[in-house]
Each structure stands twice: as C-alpha cells, then as structure tokens.
Subunit: 208 residues, 2 copies
C-alpha cells in the first residue's frame, strides 16, 4: 500500500487528488508546517529534502510532484492520464508540468519562502521578492491562459496528470495577486475541477 | 528532422548532448543572449517563453529540458536511457531531473537572472540573492553528493538522461561558489562525462 505524506495548503494536494482519481488504496499522513514537522529528524529520514510531499511505495520513497504523478498513473495502469503511448503527447504533458514545477510554483514560493533565496534576516530583500510575485506569477498565468490550457482540460478533451497539478497551484492565484478576471480559462478549469468527487474527497481529507 | 535552438552556456547543452548520444540527425541553431535574441519576435514565435532551449519536431515545438530529454530518448527508441519499462525506476529518473529543474537550476539562476524575482531596479535585492547562491546551490550539491548520485552514473550502472542534465549544471559549480573539494562524486561524474565523445562533440558545436 502507498503512504502519502502531505501538508495542508501545499502542492501535495495534486498527488492526493490523483490517488483518488486512480482509486488507489493509500494512507495519508499529515505533516504540520506550523510546528515545522517537515524539518523533524523523523520526517527527514523519509524525505531528506524536508519538503512536501513524499510517497512511500513498496520499492522505496519518491519525491517531486512531476515524478509522483507519472508514477501513480503508471502504477495503477492509467496510461490515458499520461498519453504515454504517444511520445510527443507525453512530452507535452511533461513540458506543462515542468513549467508548473520550475516556473509557476517557484515564482509563487517567493511570497512565503523567501529565505530559500536570500539570508533569512534580510527583510528588505524578502519584501522585494514578495512584491514581485504578482508580476512573475501573473506572467505565468498569462502564458497558461493564452497558449497552454487547451480546454476543457489542460491537454484538451483528455483529463491528464496536468489537471490536478494546475488546480492545486490555482488555489493560490488570488493570494499571489493575480486578478482572476484576467484568466477566465484558468478559473473555469478550477471550477470544473472543484466539482469532481475525487477532488472534493482529497480536499475534505486534508481539511478534516 | 529535429531542430534544437540553443544558447551557449545555458541548459540547452543537456539536450544537445542527448541528441549526440542517440545518434540523432538534427540541426542546431544558435540564439545569442548578448543581443537578447531570445526575446526577439522571431524566437518568441518558436518559444513564447523566451527561454532556452526549444526543440522543433515534426509534430510541434517542445520546451522544458525534462520533457525534451524524455522525448528524445523515446523518439530514438532508447528506453534504457529512461528505465521507462520500470515505473519505479522511471519515477526515480524523473524525480532527479525535477530536482535539477526546480531546485538546482533555479537556485543557480538567482546569480544571473535576479530580475525574474524582484524589480530590475532593486540592485540591493538582486545582490542579496546573488550572495545567497553559494548557500542554496551548495545545499543542492550536498544532497546530490550524499543521497542522490549513485555512481558511476547518476542512477548507478546505467547511463540515463539524468547524466547530461547534471553534467550541464555542474559546469557552473565553481562560479556558483561551491567548493569542488566538497563534492568529489559530482566532480568525478563531471570528469567522466567530459571524456565522452558525444559530450565533446556537443560542446565543440556550441563553442564553434
């Protein structure tokens, strides 16, 4: 059985949703960011990066959302979620998720996780990074809205692992200072995702 | 035929090396960062992100190094470079590359690309980010050295798409302020990669 280590209001929700989508039997273990449990010796033994999420499998422990999403879809024999039968379509799925991982998510992280990139005592630099988030995250959403989100799902008619990933990040869009009126397709996608039973169940578990 | 758009001294070298590894017939088109050609209307039509690299295929244009590496290996029927027959091993390959993409490469980018994350006129914040690069990039290499690089190749005995990716980033290790003496396995890997004919050929093409 799989065990997902997650924290509320983090990117772990993407993998959590996918576990529901594939009908996995899994345990979900909450890590508390308020007590910095992600830096505890116990959790660092599971994920030495001290980050969320981690997925414990029979073969070993996996981290990094783009990798975990592909793994879950493959392990539960759902190639349709990856388009993995078609190298070009699979590459498009991967390119979208890489953009979320190294672009949108990272830019978003400059609002709350400034000390990753400057000295923790440099409040001026931390504030400077926070002020820029609406610009950098806004540019990501502009590109997603204009060029990347095909609709109704990210890759068009087919629901893929890109959908729970975008949905999770789009939860934070307003807090990141992006005007939801400027990204109607992203908001429509978020609404459609919110209506799925799998999404409701994963969120309910995390908030319980 | 494939066309790779690349720029000197950028992450495009990883895909360039892989094209040589698989024996691809491809064209390589240089984009000049000194004249900000990556922001020219011509290049933005190829890659609206204005970033390197981009790979033009018969089916469309791909971006994002982790996606391009998987695509090249699949298109040239080299599943061994991905371990794609084994979902867990493939997930480990993907997790490593996601860590490079959203961790090491991003942290490195704070040395030269500060205005992505703060206002371009805020020289103090840009300098603050630069000063932190040895810390953040150093922590990435510490983890790679200790937990991730199995040796002799990243994934152990099998050479995979992780190898040209790590090699490309490790070119910049000293400039990023990391003591090469602290990461002997990474340096040994870099030396072994440098000795490959495919790597020499890709570098020679880029420097020509």
């Amino acid at each position: 059985m799989l065990t997902l280590y997650y924290a509320r209001d983090t990117i772990s929700l993407a993998t959590h949703i996918l576990l529901e989508e594939v009908g996995a039997s899994y345990a979900a273990v909450r890590i508390d960011f308020k007590t910095t449990q992600q830096r505890s010796p116990e959790y660092l033994r599971i994920n030495p990066k001290g980050r969320m999420p981690a997925l414990v499998t029979e073969r070993g422990i996996l981290t990094e959302t783009p990798a975990m999403l592909v793994y879950v879809a493959q392990a539960f024999r759902r190639p349709d979620l990856l388009s993995i039968d078609d190298p070009f379509a699979f590459a498009e799925v991967q390119a979208f998720n890489a953009y979320l991982c190294s672009g949108l998510h990272i830019n978003h992280a400059h609002r709350m996780r400034g000390p990753r990139w400057v000295d923790a005592n440099d409040t001026a630099a931390i504030a400077a990074m926070q002020r820029h988030v609406p610009v950098s995250v806004g540019a990501n959403y502009e590109l997603i809205e204009r060029d990347m989100l095909k609709g109704p799902w990210v890759m068009g008619e087919r629901y893929t692992i890109c959908d729970p990933y975008l949905f999770t990040l789009a939860q934070w869009l307003e807090q990141d200072g992006v005007d939801p009126g400027s990204v109607p397709k992203v908001i429509d996608h978020r609404r459609r995702m919110s209506a799925r039973d799998t999404v409701k169940k994963a969120i309910a578990q995390e908030l319980a």
